[in-house]
C-alpha cells in the first residue's frame, strides 16, 4: 500500500500552518499503524495528524475519521464569523471590538472579533508570536482554528496563523438580537434596564434585569477598573456582550461589551402573561415566612431564623407567599404568589396569619394547612410577569362557573353526529 498520498495530505495541512513536518516520517508512521497494528487507513491518518498537532502545539485540526479530508487543502476557507463551526480551520476578516486581560501567562491576548455576520471570542497563544492587535482595528486572520470552550465557540490563534492588518476604513454596524433569540456566545441587544438587584458577591459591581419587547435577561458587571454602573430605567444598546448559560438559563456578562446609552423608550414585555387552571400543588415554603431584615437582603429565613448570608436574625419580618403549580390540563405552570394576592385569595391577612403562627401549636405549619385547604384544587386565573419559567403573580382571581360555557359545551357534545 502506498502512503505517500496520505502523508503529503497531512504535511500540507501543517505547511499551511507554517510547520514543515517530515513527509517520510509521516509515511513511516502511517505504514506502521496500518500494516503492523491493523488500523483503518482513515483512522491512522487521523491519529498521525493529531500526534503532529500535539507536537507542534496546535489544536487538532478537525476532520471526521472517515471524512473526505482529501478535498480540503488544510481547510482554511475564508468564512464569515457566524459560519465558523468548532473543529474548522478558518480565515476571517474582522474588527477587534474588545480586548480583555489575558487569563493565563500562556495567553498573549484575548478578546472579541466581529464582522457584520456576528462576533466570536478569540485567544492568541503566547507561543504563537503573533503581533499584538489593537482594539478597534480590522485584521485578516488566516488559518486560525475554531474550537469550543465551555460550550461556546472560540477562535484560536496559534503559531501557524497569519495576521494582517487591514488599513482601509471599514464601518461595522452591529444589529441587536431580540432577547428571546439570544444564544450562548457573543450577542448584542437593545434593552431597557428594568430592575436592579443587590450584588450577591463582593466582586460584583452590578446585576439586574434587562428587558426588550421580547423578554428579559439577567446581566452582571464584575468590578474592574473603568467599569461604570448602568442607570435604572435607561435604554442601552449593548454590543459584544458575553452570553453565558447556567442551568439552562442565559445571562449576560457585560464586562467586555460596548455599551451605549440612548434616548429612546422600550415597552418591555417582561413576559406579561395570564394563565388559567387549577392549583394542583402547594410547595413547601408557602404560607407565612420569615424574611431577613437586613437592608436590601429580604431573603427567606430558615425555621431557626438563619439567613444564608447574614446568619441568625432574631428580628425577622413576616411575609406571606404561595409557591405552587397551576395546571390547565395540558401544561403545568410554576407560580409564585406575593403577599397582597395571597391575602385576597385565601382571605387570611398577614396579621391573622401571624396570630395563628404565634398561638397555634402547629405554628407556621397551621397557616400552610389553612391556606392549602382554601386554594388547592380550585380554579383560578393568575396574571403577572413570567421570568425563567415562573409566573410572578400580581393579580389573581377565582373563576366562577360559567353558564354560557356549559351551554356551549352541551351543544358541542350533543351537536356532532356520533
Amino acid at each position: 500500500m502506498d502512503y505517500s498520498e496520505a502523508a503529503n495530505r497531512i504535511s500540507r495541512k501543517f505547511a499551511s500552518g507554517g510547520e514543515t513536518p517530515d513527509v517520510k516520517k509521516i509515511e513511516g508512521k502511517l505504514k506502521r499503524l496500518v500494516d503492523e497494528f491493523g488500523v483503518q487507513p482513515s483512522e491512522a491518518e487521523r491519529s498521525v495528524t493529531n500526534e503532529l498537532a500535539k507536537e507542534f502545539n496546535l489544536p487538532a485540526p478537525g476532520f471526521g475519521t472517515t471524512a473526505g479530508s482529501t478535498g480540503k487543502n488544510g481547510g482554511t476557507e475564508e468564512k464569515k464569523i457566524a459560519e465558523g463551526v468548532p473543529g474548522e480551520w478558518v480565515t476571517i476578516e474582522g474588527k477587534i471590538v474588545a480586548l480583555a486581560a489575558p487569563a493565563s501567562p500562556s495567553i498573549a491576548q484575548s478578546g472579541i472579533i466581529a464582522d457584520e455576520s456576528g462576533a466570536i471570542r478569540f485567544v492568541v497563544w503566547a507561543k504563537s508570536n503573533a503581533p499584538a492587535m489593537a482594539d478597534g482595528s480590522w485584521y485578516r486572520i488566516e488559518s486560525a482554528v475554531v474550537d469550543e470552550y465551555k460550550g461556546v465557540a472560540n477562535l484560536k490563534i496559534h503559531s501557524g496563523t497569519t495576521i494582517k492588518e487591514i488599513t482601509e476604513d471599514r464601518s461595522l454596524i452591529p444589529t441587536p438580537t431580540p432577547i428571546k433569540d439570544l444564544r450562548p456566545g457573543i450577542g448584542g441587544i437593545r434593552a431597557k434596564f428594568v430592575q436592579e438587584w443587590d450584588a450577591s458577591h463582593e466582586r460584583m459591581l452590578q446585576s439586574g434585569l434587562l428587558g426588550d419587547e421580547t423578554g428579559t435577561i439577567k446581566f452582571v458587571i464584575w468590578k474592574e477598573p473603568g467599569k461604570e454602573k448602568l442607570v435604572p430605567g435607561a435604554v442601552y444598546n449593548i454590543f459584544y456582550a458575553q452570553v453565558d448559560e447556567f442551568n439552562g438559563r442565559l445571562s449576560l456578562n457585560l464586562n467586555a461589551a460596548t455599551i451605549l446609552q440612548e434616548e429612546g423608550e422600550i415597552e418591555v414585555s417582561g413576559g406579561e402573561a395570564t394563565m388559567t387552571g387549577a392549583i394542583v400543588h402547594i410547595a413547601p415554603g408557602s404560607g407565612i415566612i420569615k424574611r431577613c431584615p437586613v437592608e436590601g437582603c429580604n431573603r427567606a429565613l430558615s425555621r431557626q431564623n438563619y439567613c444564608p448570608v447574614h446568619e441568625i436574625q432574631p428580628k425577622f419580618v413576616y411575609d406571606l407567599r404561595i409557591k405552587g403549580w397551576l395546571d390547565d390540563g395540558e401544561k403545568t405552570h410554576n407560580v409564585l404568589i406575593q403577599r397582597d394576592v395571597v391575602e385576597s385569595l385565601t382571605g387570611i391577612s398577614l396579621a391573622q396569619a401571624q396570630e395563628i403562627a404565634e398561638n397555634n401549636p402547629l405554628g407556621m405549619d397551621e397557616v400552610f394547612i389553612q391556606m392549602r385547604e382554601k386554594i388547592l384544587g380550585r380554579y383560578i386565573q393568575c396574571s403577572g410577569r413570567e421570568i425563567d419559567g415562573r409566573l410572578l403573580v400580581n393579580k389573581c382571581e377565582k373563576i366562577a362557573f360559567s353558564t354560557a360555557e356549559h351551554t356551549a359545551l352541551l351543544n358541542r357534545a350533543g351537536g356532532a353526529p356520533s
Binding site: T177, R183, G185, I186, A278, W325, T332, I399, F401, S418
Partner: protein
C-alpha cells in the same frame, strides 16, 4: 449575532418539566388497560394510555368522596371511592404518601373533594379484571361549584381528545387504536354530554 446558533441546544432543553394533570372522567379512566414507561431511566415517568389517545402520568379529578376505609396494620393505607357523574374512581394513599394519607384520613365522607394523583393499572391475579386505581398526591375538600367547573373542564378536554382522534394521528393516538381496538372514542362524547346534562342549570 450568536456565533453558531444552529449548533446550540434549544434554550430550555433538559430542564425539569412537571407532568400536567390530565382531566378524565371515571368512565374513560376505567377502560385503561395499557401502561408504559417513557425512557429507560429508573425515574422515568410511567404513563397510562387513555383510550381517547393521550398519555397521562398525573390526573386531576373532582368528585364526591363516598367511602373511605383504612386497611393494613404494618403498612397502613387508606382506600377511597370518588364518584363523578360518569362512574367511580378508586383512590388510595399509603404510608409512602404520608401527607396525602393524613389529608384523606381527616376527611369524613360524603364530601366534594379535589384529588391530584397518579393512575396505574393493577391486577390482583391473572384471572381477575384489571383495576385502575389512583395513588393520591393531594386531596382537599372543595365546594360544589368547583365540582361543576371540573365537569366543564373535563368535558372540554374529553371532547378535544375525541375530535383530535379522528384527525392527524399522533403516536399516542396510533397506540390507542392498537391497544383498544374495540373502543370507539365517540362513546366518550356521549359520556361527556351526559355528565354535562347532570349539572342543574
Amino acid at each position: 449575532m450568536s456565533t453558531n446558533a444552529t449548533d446550540m441546544p434549544a434554550r430550555r432543553e433538559g430542564q425539569f418539566e412537571r407532568e400536567p394533570a390530565r382531566r378524565v372522567f371515571a368512565a374513560e379512566l376505567r377502560e385503561c388497560r395499557y401502561q408504559f414507561k417513557d425512557g429507560e431511566d429508573e425515574k422515568s415517568p410511567t404513563f397510562v394510555l387513555l383510550p381517547s389517545g393521550e398519555r397521562s402520568n398525573r390526573i386531576f379529578i373532582v368528585g364526591t368522596l363516598t367511602e373511605k376505609t383504612r386497611q393494613g396494620e404494618q403498612n397502613m393505607f387508606y382506600r377511597g371511592r370518588v364518584v363523578d357523574p360518569t362512574g367511580t374512581f378508586f383512590v388510595m394513599a399509603g404510608s409512602y404518601q404520608p401527607e396525602a394519607m393524613q389529608q384523606l384520613a381527616k376527611i369524613e365522607p360524603p364530601q366534594f373533594v379535589a384529588v391530584i394523583g397518579k393512575a396505574s393499572i393493577y391486577q390482583k391475579d391473572p384471572a381477575s379484571a384489571p383495576l385502575v386505581s389512583v395513588r393520591v398526591e393531594s386531596i382537599n375538600v372543595v365546594d360544589k361549584e368547583t365540582r361543576d367547573q371540573w365537569v366543564l373542564d373535563t368535558a372540554k378536554h374529553t371532547l378535544d381528545r375525541v375530535d383530535a382522534f379522528t384527525k392527524e394521528p399522533t403516536p399516542d393516538i396510533l397506540k390507542a387504536k392498537e391497544q383498544y381496538p374495540t373502543i370507539d372514542p365517540s362513546l366518550f362524547r356521549k359520556i361527556a354530554y351526559d355528565a354535562l346534562a347532570q349539572i342543574k342549570m
